[in-house]
Structures are given as C-alpha cells and as structure tokens.
C-alpha cells in the first residue's frame, strides 16, 4: 500500500535559506552588494573594472568572481583597484549559488568593504534561478548580443533590479532595434532602471556610477 503525501516545497528552498544567511552577514557588516549577471562576454568584468577604477577613491570595493575555471577575472578586478578580489571556481557549474557565496564570504574582509560586487558565471538562464543573497541584481546586456534577448530569456530580464546595456559604441555597426529591445524589457520588468553605456569609451558611465554610489549611501544610512 502506498499513500500520497502533499509536500509543496520549493526545490531551491535550501538555496534560498542560505541566501538569507548571506544577506544577513552582509547587512551586519553594512556592506551593499550587487550580483552581476550576463551572457559570456557581455562585459561583466569590464564594468567591474570601470566601476572600481572610477570609485576606488570613494568606496572600498570587494569583488567576488565566479568562473567555471581560471582566476583571470579576479586578477583583472584587482589590477583595476579592487581592494579585495576573491575567485570562486564553480568546477563546471553554470551559475553561482548561495552555497558558493557562503563559502567565499569568509575570505572577504567585509569590515574593510563598502561595496561587494559578485560576478556571476556568464549565462543568461541558470543564474536567474539561484538567489545569492546580494541586495540587487544587475543584468548586463550588450549590443552585439542582439535586441531579441528579453524575448528569449524572460526569466533573467524579469528578475533584476537594474539593467545595463553595454557596448553602445557598437550601435553604428550592429543592427539593434532599441525600441523593440526596450518594449520587451518594459513588459517583463516595468520601470526597471536602465543604463545604456560603453565600457570602452566611457559614454553613459556617469549615471551608472552615481546610481552605485547612491545605493551604497542608502545602505549606510539605514
């Protein structure tokens, strides 16, 4: 004889619980944190470099870099002036999860940081499902990826608090219907704050930097 028992439990509830612990640790240390998500090559590390380079005098920025292998991106963050750069190698996993961040956080001196930027693994699907406990998620889209990405990866576009559209210096060379792109974004994530910019030329980077500073200050004044 068998009987059916109702369960109705989120499969990732263990991840979510650990994400809450990460958030509590960051809150306790007064550190504001961002989760950078994007497809491979969209410019996550480039935006970290630009942000760290511009704000190093104002904020102590720690970077946690998730990659399937290599520590190249953490090295780039450190070279750009990050006060700390920690690498997580996921060993094949396509995303970071709360467990990996939980293991990495003790390697970060949170007391010596104002801002923590986590670079997720380059992937437009899986990172959306795994909360890390960071305060805000930022999606970095880029012009050469094409304007149809909101339609193809709705969960990623749906779940972020800020959107960067990188590589606008390439707009003259690549077909990209900004209206079409923005319509898809607006449907999935109404009113999401959006920063079109170029990490290469620096165009549009100022509003992004101001937003980061504002977010850190909001956290400080809590």
């Amino acid at each position: 004889m068998t009987i059916r028992i109702p369960v109705v439990e989120k499969i990732l509830s263990a991840n979510d619980r650990l994400a809450a612990e990460n958030r509590a640790a960051l809150d306790a240390a007064g550190v504001f944190s961002l989760n950078f998500m994007a497809s491979p090559g969209a410019g996550k590390t480039s935006l970290i470099e630009q942000t760290v380079h511009a704000l190093a005098g104002k904020l102590r920025i720690a970077v946690v870099d998730g990659d399937i292998a290599t520590s190249l991106d953490a090295d780039r963050a450190a070279a750009a002036g990050a006060s700390q750069a920690v690498q997580i190698n996921t060993g094949g996993d396509c995303h970071l999860d709360a467990v990996m961040l939980h293991e990495a956080l003790p390697k970060v001196n949170l007391a010596g940081a104002d801002l923590l930027i986590v670079e997720n693994v380059g992937n437009l699907v899986c990172p959306a499902s795994f909360a890390l406990g960071t305060h805000k998620s930022v999606l970095i889209a880029s012009i050469p990826e094409g304007d149809d990405k909101p339609y193809k990866y709705p969960s990623m576009y749906h779940g972020v608090e800020a959107l960067v559209v990188n590589k606008i210096d390439l707009l003259p060379y690549v077909p990209f219907r900004m209206d079409f792109f923005r319509q898809g974004v607006e449907a999935l994530n109404p009113g999401v704050i959006t920063f079109p910019l170029s990490c290469r030329t620096g165009e549009g980077i100022e509003p992004w930097l101001n937003w980061v500073i504002q977010q850190v200050n909001l956290k400080r004044n809590l």
Binding site: I5, V7, E9, S13
Partner: protein, 111 residues
C-alpha cells in the same frame, strides 16, 4: 549543469517528508521558464538515490507553460515568439503569471 544540486535538494525534501517510509514516486512541478532538463535530473536522481529510502523511486514531471497576464485588461495569454503584447488589447503592460514554478508537489510513500 546544475541538475546535481537540484537532485540532492529534491532528495533531501522528499526524505524529510517521508519520515522514515520508503518513497516510491515523486511529483514535481516545473515551469517552462526554469532552466531544468527532465532527463538529466532523472540521470542524477538514479545515482544519488542509491542506498536511501528513495532508491528506485520514479520522478514525474508536470511542466507549466509560460503564461503572461495583461495588467490593463486582465487577459491571460502565452507569449509570442518575439512579442509580449496582449493579444486582446495590445497593451505591453504584462507580468509573468506562470512558468517560474519549481517545486515538489507531493510524494508517494509505502505504508
């Protein structure tokens, strides 16, 4: 590739709810938007279930198609290939109503 931790999580939840009884079937609900492939979960499941009370249990998947809800007229609809516009009123103010589910709905245990 994240089906391994997902399978482990399913096992942990199932065994906890089974309270020492043998688990024979698991019923999962997975939205179309979640990045999960049935076949590879089954593959990992067969391995990690070994030696537990859920060894050999069968996984059943219920897939939920993506559904958007128009915030202007209340119409529910499936998104088009490259449009999220409401087919009834043309509005672009929509929200994702279904498709992000990812949970264990129920299990069957031996009594």
């Amino acid at each position: 590739m994240h089906e391994l931790p997902v399978s482990e999580s399913i096992l942990e939840i199932a065994l906890r709810h089974a309270e020492g009884r043998r688990v024979t079937n698991l019923y999962l609900v997975i939205g179309q938007l979640s990045s999960i492939v049935d076949d590879s979960i089954q593959f990992y499941w067969d391995i990690i279930g070994q030696g537990t009370l859920a060894e050999g249990a069968k996984l059943h998947f219920r897939r939920i198609p993506t559904e958007l809800l128009c915030l202007d007229c209340g119409q529910s609809f499936a998104p088009g290939e490259d449009s999220f516009a409401c087919p009834a009123c043309g509005s672009l103010k929509v929200k994702v109503a279904k498709g992000e589910e990812f949970f264990l709905e129920s299990i069957e245990v031996e009594t």
